[in-house]
Symmetry: C2
Subunit: 428 residues, 2 copies
């Protein structure tokens, strides 16, 4: 079993966002030691971090990984043209094997940016799972069901959710599943009601796209006389927690429900900006004590899977929104991106660096000009950091990225496949 | 004399933002060939770009480079506290030698992000110049004078501007100087009037901070009954062109003046966001045909010197501002960051890749997951790119950055100096 020793490290404690020198040991997929009085051991590899920062890896709490094939395929156009004329017709052409290959491309990008886990909502979850297992990426699948008022849609949505719950949970330490549905506007009320009952039956949290655009909220009010959040609450969807992706257009009442239920807001600042959806009231949520996490959304709308850029926007957009340079401080944002996102995904053993936690780590290179001088390492990471500072990424105890290379994966083969797939879809 | 051959390249033409395969040769600090039918020659080094993107380097059209020492020193606080309680007192302690060392640190960061030239406004220009010459960075110094209503302030401001014009121009191919002053709110009207006359006498363009904050514009209206732009125009400052840094809070009349005079707007989207100054009406300016360039502002307010992040924000903040996902397209933004910024700085021979132009280049690594698949390389660079994609930077014909290394500079020594300087200032 692989045993790694990281020494001469500066280690981030996410509890109080402080940094202290020390070392960290792993055995297999677990952290076995963190501190300054290390036990002797025989290690597979000993890594001198030369004072670089060792911290929990980023967790991407909302994404559609396989949408890599549409990266930079159709940008700078109105939202509806992008979605209905470009994205949906191309997605219809995807095979399960395509989803497998395209998710592997996303895994490479996650690793190169220090992310080891994602909360993925897409078609063909078996193939997303296979991509995660073959790349060594931690995966939390999110139910992505939707449907109209037909019995067939109803049966399909409900049976898939129930089936996935047992199929993807408890089988592999890298993979888990959370109940969820695409969104209110794509799911008939009969299905929403049944999903609420299912969540209660299995005592499960529920996740969905929520209030991403003003149009979506307006449409829900027209259909149901209430906002998506109030509708979901009244249907009893949040008895066992859960969360919402985006949450850009939220009323006071919506926020109160999130606060009272301990629900997770997963913010996606890059995608919300690029699609002109708006700026979520994140600082307000933060001050209310609402649980916060960060995701990239899919690479078709972002167009990167880069948690550094998300963190930067998560902070500076709030300063703009609140007209206050003090809004949304760096330490809060970094905490959201590592432990917040992990906890939103149910990864309670991947949220911090401590004995017994999973070995999901990233080494941040401080020996680069954008990290100097070292006035404040946390602020450097959030406000000056970039994925160029990712020196090494460890997922589930395995080094999956180091100094620009992917030691366990054949990147050229994965790149070639992704180009083949998009070329074939364009030709169809 | 160094002769470089770049072959198997995909070369960006900034004229029409198209990319075509070919090769590029340099001799000394000049480009000697671009095309597909290369002459034979003896090269110092032949570099197979393996299909990677070769494009003009980024030019940073507004910065205060030496402020690296205050990176992450005081963030997440109200603007006035940051400026008056943190920045100004620390800047007062800087020696000329400090400015030299701190500008060298900035040069490392510029090179690592594909930037080879900056339009720098700071104290001790002789020492900024020395740093540029010692690192091989192209430098356009901008007059940073200011002053109250005393005769001494007047004499100092005017004599310095006149002196710098001859001292820094025409001496070294890496260095030039443009007339400028800090801002309306820091410069007495008598000095502003005299600067306008000086610009006319020497037929020079004039540059200054302009309408960065709403307060600044309001103050100018209270002092002079008009906006900064109208005041400058009425003083006759723009007879020979010039530009404004920031230009966040602009009236219709202001924009018309910029358009009519052919002035450059240098936008600083990261700094304007982080300091909660606002979002400039960049897309409106673009549609009016106003000349546009991009800068980072100083690293104390940004906190990086990263043109990739600036480009991303320059586009997506406009989509938010205009509530239109089609606003501010990627090709316009990339053009701003390379040729727009060069032309704003008067670097008319650094704006594109063509025979006879200066060899200021960057190689963008497309063989990374965030650049795959290759649906649209320009959109990939702007929307998915990061400084991790910078494979090589060539400044004035010299390779100053390659695969994470600085072949001509001792980065550890520069990092150590910057840490020594900030430690000493904190102890004072």
């Amino acid at each position: 079993m692989e045993k790694l020793r990281f020494y001469n490290a500066n280690i981030l404690s996410v509890k109080d966002m402080t940094i202290s020198s020390g070392e960290l040991h792993t055995c297999g997929n677990k952290i076995t030691y963190v501190g300054n009085n290390p036990p002797k051991d025989d290690f597979t590899r000993e890594i001198n971090l030369c004072g670089n920062l060792l911290m929990p890896s980023f967790k991407n709490a909302h994404t559609h990984s396989a949408m890599t094939f549409l990266r930079s395929y159709a940008d700078d156009m109105p939202l509806n043209d992008w979605l209905f004329k470009q994205v949906f017709p191309m997605e219809d052409k995807l095979t399960p094997e395509d989803v497998y290959e395209l998710t592997k491309l996303a895994a490479l990008e996650y690793f190169s940016g220090g992310t080891t886990a994602c909360f993925d909502m897409y078609f063909h979850p078996d193939y997303v799972e296979k991509a995660a297992l073959d790349t060594g990426m931690r995966l939390v699948l999110c139910g992505a069901v939707s449907g109209g008022d037909s019995q067939a849609d109803y049966d399909s949505a409900l049976s898939r959710l129930e089936n996935y719950l047992t199929r993807f949970n408890g089988k592999n330490p890298l993979v888990s599943f959370k109940m969820g549905f695409h969104a209110e506007y794509t799911t008939h009320i009969s299905i929403l009601k049944a999903i609420a009952e299912l969540a209660k039956k299995y005592k499960q949290p529920l996740y969905t796209h929520n209030s991403e655009t003003a149009n979506e909220v307006q449409g829900c009010i027209e259909r149901h006389g209430k906002t998506p959040t109030v509708l979901f609450e009244e249907l009893g969807m949040f008895e066992y927690g859960g969360g919402g992706f985006h949450c850009v257009h939220m009323t006071e009442e919506d926020l109160e429900i999130f606060k009272r239920r301990g629900l997770w807001v997963v913010t996606n600042p890059c995608s919300n900006s690029k699609l002109a959806s708006g700026i979520a009231p994140l600082y307000k949520m933060y001050n209310m004590g609402i649980n916060l996490a960060i995701g990239t959304d899919g690479p078709a709308s972002n167009n990167a899977l880069d948690m550094f850029r998300e963190m930067y926007l998560a902070s500076v957009l709030q300063k703009i929104r609140e007209d206050d340079a003090a809004a949304m401080p760096a330490d809060a944002v970094l905490k959201m991106a590592v432990s917040g996102s992990a906890l939103a995904m149910g990864l309670t053993d991947c949220d911090s660096l401590a004995e017994g936690k999973k070995a999901d780590l990233v080494v941040i290179d401080l020996d680069q000009p954008n990290m100097q001088p070292l006035n404040n390492t946390v602020k450097n990471v959030v406000f000056a950091g970039s994925k160029s500072n990712v020196k090494m990424t460890v997922s589930n105890g395995v080094i999956v990225y180091e100094n620009g290379e992917f030691p366990t994966l054949d990147k050229e083969k994965i790149f070639a496949k992704s180009n083949e797939i998009i070329a074939a879809k364009k030709a169809m």
